[in-house]
């Protein structure tokens, strides 16, 4: 009795190992295939991005991406911000929440880096507001910011703090519903989300 079960268990383990090896190989070759198909127009670029394989070695939080969900910068626990919390602090968000806000289109995105970095590539539709030139850009963006429901600030990602400085300046200026997208360009590009180059948003 046990012997037959032992055979089954060993068989099941072998099955898992074989499937794992094949799955990893398939994952490895699927991205180039999808990219080629997108280049040839067989499938859309969006589809190639969404359905491509994942990077096996990169952990999901290797670049200090914050926790999933929304948490206040000051570390105190609390539910996500919303219309019921008009006086919320600056909220740290991760790349997925940033994408949600991007898709919803109610927020205005600000790239807090210098113009040179902004022109090399920024989140599609994001405006450039270098953190060290807060006052000179303030008049330029005042109307736009007033119209937006919320503000998302980001910089290159990792340990950059330009976006933090910009967010704090905005908060001090009286703006609310400010989101700090900590993953920044690094996480955004890593996920293959839309970007633009040049000086236009």
């Amino acid at each position: 009795m046990w012997k037959s079960w032992k055979t089954e268990i060993i068989g099941a383990i072998k099955l898992v190992i074989v499937v794992a090896i094949v799955a990893v190989l398939v994952n490895w070759i699927r991205t180039p295939i999808l990219l080629r198909a997108a280049e040839q127009g067989t499938i859309s670029h969006a589809r190639a991005r969404i359905t491509r394989g994942v990077n096996l070695i990169d952990p999901w939080r290797h670049k200090g991406w914050p926790e999933v969900g929304v948490q206040p910068v000051d570390g105190s626990p609390g539910p996500g911000p919303g219309p019921t919390q008009p006086d919320s602090q600056i909220w740290t968000i991760d790349v997925f929440k940033a994408k949600e806000l991007f898709d919803a289109g109610d927020c205005i995105f600000f790239d807090a880096r210098g113009a040179q970095y902004y022109e090399e590539g920024h989140i599609a539709g994001a405006n450039n507001w270098p953190f060290d030139m807060f006052d000179s850009y303030h008049s330029q963006y005042a109307d736009t910011v007033a119209d937006a429901d919320c503000i998302v600030a980001y910089c290159s990602g990792g340990s950059c703090d330009e976006s933090n400085t910009l967010a704090v300046s905005l908060f001090a200026e009286g703006y609310r519903e400010i989101y700090l997208f900590e993953g920044g360009m690094e996480a955004w590009e890593y996920m293959g989300y839309p970007t633009n180059v040049g000086s236009e948003p």
């Binding site: 037959s4 089954e8 268990i9 068989g11 099941a12 099955l15 898992v16 499937v19 794992a20 094949v22 799955a23 990893v24 398939v26 994952n27 969404i50 359905t51 491509r52 394989g53 994942v54 990077n55 096996l56 070695i57 990169d58 952990p59 999901w60 939080r61 290797h62 926790e67 999933v68 997925f96 996920m191």
Partner: protein, 161 residues
């Protein structure tokens, strides 16, 4: 299917009813895993994101999220297919059982921590719900029971080894 297995593989008297139930369960469970795996195989990023949201693989264990997002759906697909085509049924059922234990543990931990996250179970059909909540837990317990039935079915039902 072939009747070469010992104990008689065909659903004939006197064990016709358990035999038919067994094969029905086998095909249903297999089809369920097969269909549920497809979306996850197509969109490994979304599945990885779902695993990430469980906040179980944190810190250095985050290195396991990508491998899990690749291997688990593939395993579900293969095991589902094996069940449907009546091949290596017990091994496939064992693997499904093991996966289900992991799923149940994960959902229990999510409920215990009061997280409100997506299940990432595949098959996110409206009436089944899409969140990792008590509904998902009950679903997984039912699947666990079915896989146990398939695993422990006596030879007389025509089970293939």
């Amino acid at each position: 299917m072939s009747d070469a297995t010992e104990g008689g593989a065909r659903c004939s008297t006197p064990s016709a009813v358990p035999c038919i139930v067994y094969h029905l369960l086998r095909i249903l469970l297999g089809a369920l895993f097969l269909v549920a795996s497809l979306e996850k195989i197509e969109r490994p990023w979304d599945f990885g994101r779902a695993i990430y949201a469980y906040s179980i693989l944190v810190g250095p264990f985050a290195y396991l999220i990508s491998p899990a997002a690749i291997v688990m759906p593939a395993l579900e697909f293969v095991c589902g297919a094996l069940l449907v085509i009546n091949l290596k049924v017990r091994q496939a059922a064992l693997a499904i059982l093991a996966m289900n234990v992991v799923f149940i543990a994960a959902i229990v931990s999510v409920i215990a921590r009061g997280l409100d996250i997506e299940c990432g179970c595949g098959l996110d059909v409206g009436f089944l719900g899409t969140q990792a909540d008590a509904g998902a837990l009950i679903r997984d317990l039912v699947i666990l029971a079915v896989s146990l039935v398939i695993l422990l079915a006596p030879q007389s039902t025509g089970r293939k080894t």
